[in-house]
Symmetry: C2
Subunit: 268 residues, 2 copies
C-alpha cells in the first residue's frame, strides 16, 4: 500500500471537461495516486482542428503538467492522441499514456468476429488512429464520426429521445442489417455519458467498450502498488477558460463535485 | 459609381465560417467595395468562451485586418460583438460595425407588439446584448440559447427532421400558447441557413429578422456611393486553421465557391 510520502502525481490532460470521465475511472482504479487535471477549455474543441494546431496546444499543456510535478501524463483527449501522440511523447521527459491503444486492445479482446465499430470525433476518425491500432490485433474497424454527440452531451440531453434518433441515424447502418461487427468502441471522452442510451440503440449482442475504463485499467497495471490507499487522492484542476463553467459542466463527467479550479493563461 | 482606384477595403471578422453569411449579404448590398474575410478557425467556437478570452482573440484578429488595409471592420461574430464590442472598437483606428445594433434595430422596426424572441449562442444570450440594444427602442426581448443549432448546421442537417424537432424543443414555449412576440431575431451567423426550417416551426404571423441582412444594409447606408459597381469585388480569405476545411464548409455559408485561403498563425 502506498504511504503518503510516496504518492506519485499523475497528470491528466484533455481539451475540456470530457477527460474527467478518464479521471473518474482512474480514481477508481488507482486511488493511491494524486492527480493534476488540465482542461484546455479556451482552445476546445480539438476535434475539428488540424494536426499541427492540436500538437502545438497539447504540447504546451503537457509541459505545464510536467512542470507542476506530474510523473506520468495521461492524454485523455482522443483527438490529441490520434493526431499528435508522437509529438506529445517527445515534448516531455515523463511517461505518456494515451487512450487509443488501451481502448483498441480492450475492443480487440472483446471481439469474437474481429470486427469493431469505432465512434469518435471527425478529427479522430480522419486520423484512422483506432483503425491502425486495431490492425495490430488483426481486427478490422469501421470508423464513424458522430459530431453531434458532443454538443448533445453538453446540452445535457444524454437520455433524450432526439439523441436516440441521432444515434440511430449515425449507427443503424453500421450495426444492423448483416453487419458482423460485435463491439462498439467509444472513442471520445464524452461518449461514456451516452452509454445507457447507446445500449438501447445497438443490437443486444454487441459489446460496448469504453476507452476511458480501458485506459484507467492500463494505468493501474503499470502502478500496481497504488491500487489501494488509506487516504483519498488529492486532485488539483486547471482550466484555460471560465473556471465557473468548468466546475458546472465538469461535475457530471467526474460524477462528483469539483473543488477549486485554477485559471491558466497559455498565451503571452 | 465607384471607380477602381477608390474601392475601399472592408474587413469582415468572425470566429469561423459563419460570418460568410454576413459577407454574402455585403456582396449584394455593397458590391463596390473589396473585402478581406478573417475566420479565426483555430480558436472557434467563441460561443462557449469567457468575455476576456473572446476580447483577446477578436482584438488580435481585427488588428490583423487593419494592418492589411481594411478601412472599416465588420464584426460578423455575434458573440464577439456581445462580449467585447467596446474592447474591439478601442483596439483599432478604423470604424467598427457590429451585427447586434443593426439586427436589433430591424427587429424593433418589424415588431408591432414590441416583443421579440432572440435566438443565439450561450455566450450571446448570457451577455443580454440584444436585450440591451432592443430596450433602446422600448422593445422587450426573450432570449433563448440554442446551442445545438450550430453543430446541426455544421453537420449539414439544415433541412433535417431532427433539426426541426430540436427547433420545436427550443422555440415552442416562446412562440406559441399565448406569446405576444411577433418577431424572431436570428442572433447567430449560422442561423440564416435554418431560416426556411424555422419558417415552418414558428407561427406564420411571426416575422423572421436576420442580423446578417440588417448589418449589410447598415453598411450600405454608410457607403451609399458603393452600392453599384462595374467590376466584381475582390475578396481575400484568411483562416487560422485548416484552409481546406474552411473552403469546404464555407461554400454553403457564402453561397459561392471560395478561392484561395491564406493560413495565418496568430500565436508565437
Amino acid at each position: 500500500m502506498a504511504t503518503e510520502n510516496v504518492r506519485p502525481i499523475i497528470g491528466v490532460f484533455d481539451s475540456g471537461v470530457g477527460g474527467l470521465t478518464v479521471l473518474r475511472e482512474l480514481l477508481l482504479e488507482v486511488p493511491g495516486a494524486d492527480y493534476l487535471y488540465f482542461g484546455d477549455t479556451a482552445r476546445l474543441p480539438y476535434g475539428s482542428k488540424s494536426a499541427a494546431t492540436v500538437a502545438k496546444y497539447a504540447c504546451s499543456a503537457v509541459r505545464y503538467l510536467e512542470q507542476l510535478g506530474a510523473e506520468m501524463v495521461v492524454i485523455a483527449c482522443n483527438t490529441a492522441c490520434a493526431l499528435a501522440y508522437p509529438e506529445i511523447e517527445r515534448c516531455v521527459n515523463v511517461p505518456v499514456m494515451g487512450v487509443i491503444r488501451p481502448g483498441a486492445e480492450s475492443a480487440a479482446k472483446a471481439s469474437h468476429t474481429k470486427k469493431v465499430v469505432v465512434i469518435a470525433t471527425e478529427g479522430t476518425v480522419g486520423s484512422h488512429a483506432y483503425s491502425t491500432a486495431l490492425s495490430e490485433w488483426k481486427v478490422s474497424a469501421q470508423e464513424k464520426a458522430c459530431p453531434l454527440f458532443v454538443p448533445l452531451v453538453e446540452e445535457g440531453w444524454t437520455d433524450h429521445p432526439i439523441t436516440e434518433q441521432v444515434a440511430h441515424v449515425y449507427l443503424d447502418e453500421l450495426t444492423r442489417s448483416g453487419s458482423s461487427a460485435d463491439v462498439l468502441l467509444l472513442g471520445c471522452t464524452h461518449y461514456p455519458l451516452l452509454k445507457e442510451l447507446l445500449r438501447r440503440v445497438v443490437p443486444p449482442q454487441m459489446a460496448i467498450v469504453d476507452s476511458a475504463e480501458s485506459t484507467a485499467r492500463s494505468v493501474a497495471v503499470k502502478m500496481q502498488r497504488l491500487t489501494a490507499s488509506v487516504t483519498a487522492p488529492h486532485i488539483r484542476f486547471f482550466a484555460t477558460d471560465s473556471i465557473e463553467k468548468f466546475r458546472r459542466t465538469g461535475t457530471k463527467f467526474l460524477s462528483r463535485e469539483i473543488g477549486e479550479v485554477a485559471l491558466v493563461n497559455m498565451e503571452p
